[in-house]
């Protein structure tokens, strides 16, 4: 029995705990704190934080693989996060279901009323590729150990779209998945802090005061046909983006078609909520000390910040240029919404616009580039998967 008591002591966390695990539990607590107290994308960062704590409990076996005997019978079951990660994230299923739900929650009306704003959604993706170069330089200089696949996965943080980042990282750089997801969601939450200084630096008060014409009404038929058009263009031009954009368009079609409201409702609520809980726990499982506590994570966090900043700037500059050539006035602030981070970035554009002119409501105008940015980063993800994988 003394033997058993010693066993029990050897099983405790206190006996087994390594410093790295302790630090990662602290990181998990920090994420929970940021989610609850600071409102940092709590739907994802809270489950990720809890997942980070769970996976770092020594001896709890949350990532243990199941063991089978030769006859195929289970000897010992796997851990919860093992099943979640390998069943839902490694396979790509969870990010795709989330993307379907996001599609079912997206209103393309403002973008359809003003298709030019798609260009802003394109420009803001420059943040992605500039970051790739940054990561490649760090890798080439031997400072950090990044391959091209790693660099591409890091760049996608600049897409400001959580499920896209997780999907790409799970395919190109699974080891960096934890840091990339944390960086993506953290910076999306920090958009109200990161973007305004850049927006103000690149525009004059007059530009920020520009009023835009009211958007034309968009018919139900346009909204129904649009996701099908996107899907067909993706099929023709970039099949590697078809998983992401196909599910996104499917969700949007369910939303707009008006005949499957009960499916759309479930995709937007029960289903996306269930998947979000498990996605968070699964992403958290990649926050192990070996994968997270190294210099590469610092690189990822810094590069992510750079990506957001460059994307914001590129969007604003593109909007300034568009304004010069456009018949109707375009407020450059809405360019910043092109990074996506729906709907936070659009709200930031609206807020900065109101500072300059109290009568200037940009929210609806900024929703166009905002949702365009989702398409833009999914296209960028497709190119990366094709370029790096092919």
């Amino acid at each position: 029995m003394e033997h058993k008591l010693i066993n029990l002591y050897h099983d405790t966390g206190i006996y087994q705990l390594q410093l790295g695990q302790l630090v990662m539990i602290a990181v998990g607590l920090l994420l929970i704190y940021l989610a609850i107290k600071k409102g940092f994308e709590p739907l994802l960062l809270l489950p990720i934080g809890v997942g980070a704590i769970l996976v770092n409990i020594p001896g709890a076996g949350f990532m243990a693989a199941p063991v089978y005997d030769a006859a195929g019978h289970m000897v010992s079951p796997g851990g919860l996060q093992y099943y979640i990660y390998h069943g839902g994230i490694e396979t790509g299923l969870f990010p795709l279901m989330i993307f379907m739900g996001v599609g079912a929650m997206t209103d393309f009306g403002p973008m359809l009323a003003n298709p030019k704003t798609l260009l802003l959604g394109a420009a803001a993706q420059f943040g992605i590729f500039a970051t790739v170069i940054g990561a490649v330089l760090l890798g080439a200089a031997g400072i950090m150990d990044f391959t091209l696949a790693d660099a591409a996965a890091i760049g996608i943080i600049g897409g400001a779209d959580g499920p896209t980042a997780i999907f790409v990282a799970s395919r190109l750089a699974p080891d960096l998945l934890g840091a990339i997801a944390v960086a993506a969601y953290s910076y999306m939450a920090l958009v109200p802090l990161i973007q305004p200084p850049i927006m103000r630096a690149l525009t004059s008060v007059e530009e920020r005061s520009i009023k835009m014409e009211q958007l034309r009404p968009v018919s139900k038929t346009e909204k129904i046909v649009f996701p099908i058009v996107v899907l067909l263009l993706v099929a023709m031009f970039l099949p590697s983006a078809a998983p992401l954009l196909g599910m996104f368009c499917f969700g949007n079609l369910m939303r707009e078609c008006g005949v499957v409201d009960r499916l759309s409702d479930t995709a937007q609520n029960a289903l996306i909520n269930i998947v979000t809980i498990f996605l968070g726990l699964g992403v958290g499982s990649k926050l192990s000390s070996e994968a997270f506590l190294n210099v590469e994570t610092l690189g990822i966090l810094s590069l992510g910040l750079v990506a957001f900043s460059i994307g914001t700037a590129a969007g604003v500059l593109m909007a300034k240029m568009l304004n010069k050539f456009s018949a109707t006035p375009i407020n450059p602030l809405i360019g910043a919404a092109g990074v996506s981070a729906v709907p936070m970035a659009a709200r930031v554009a609206n807020k900065v616009g109101l500072e300059a002119n109290k009568q200037n409501f940009l929210l609806m105008h900024a929703m166009g580039p905002n949702v365009a940015g989702v398409i833009g980063s999914a296209v960028a993800a497709g190119v990366m998967l094709s370029y790096v994988g092919g």
């Binding site: 009323a113 394109a122 590729f129 009404p217």
Partner: protein
């Protein structure tokens, strides 16, 4: 190492190029689609007001719903969920 760098620049040029090409094609496709639909299948009445963003929906419903009724509803929904 050089290879990695040139690959990175290749990815950047191809990537940004492709993003622009795709979204410009999408601008034309969307514009063409809207023109066709509004010409051949004009909507009986615009529906933009019908599907407001959730923020709007919440705002407008807050204005039109009597607070006591809203409270009653919230309680009923809660009750319903708890079953």
């Amino acid at each position: 190492m050089d290879n990695l760098l040139s690959d990175g620049f290749g990815l950047m040029i191809l990537g940004m190029g492709f993003v622009y090409v795709f979204l410009i094609v999408l601008i034309f496709a969307t514009t063409f689609m809207s023109k066709m639909i509004n010409q051949y299948f004009p909507a009986p009445a615009p529906v933009q007001a019908k599907k407001p963003s959730s923020a709007n929906a919440q705002a407008s419903s807050r204005q039109t719903v009597d607070p006591t009724i809203a409270a009653a509803i919230a309680a009923a929904i809660h009750q319903h969920r708890q079953r």
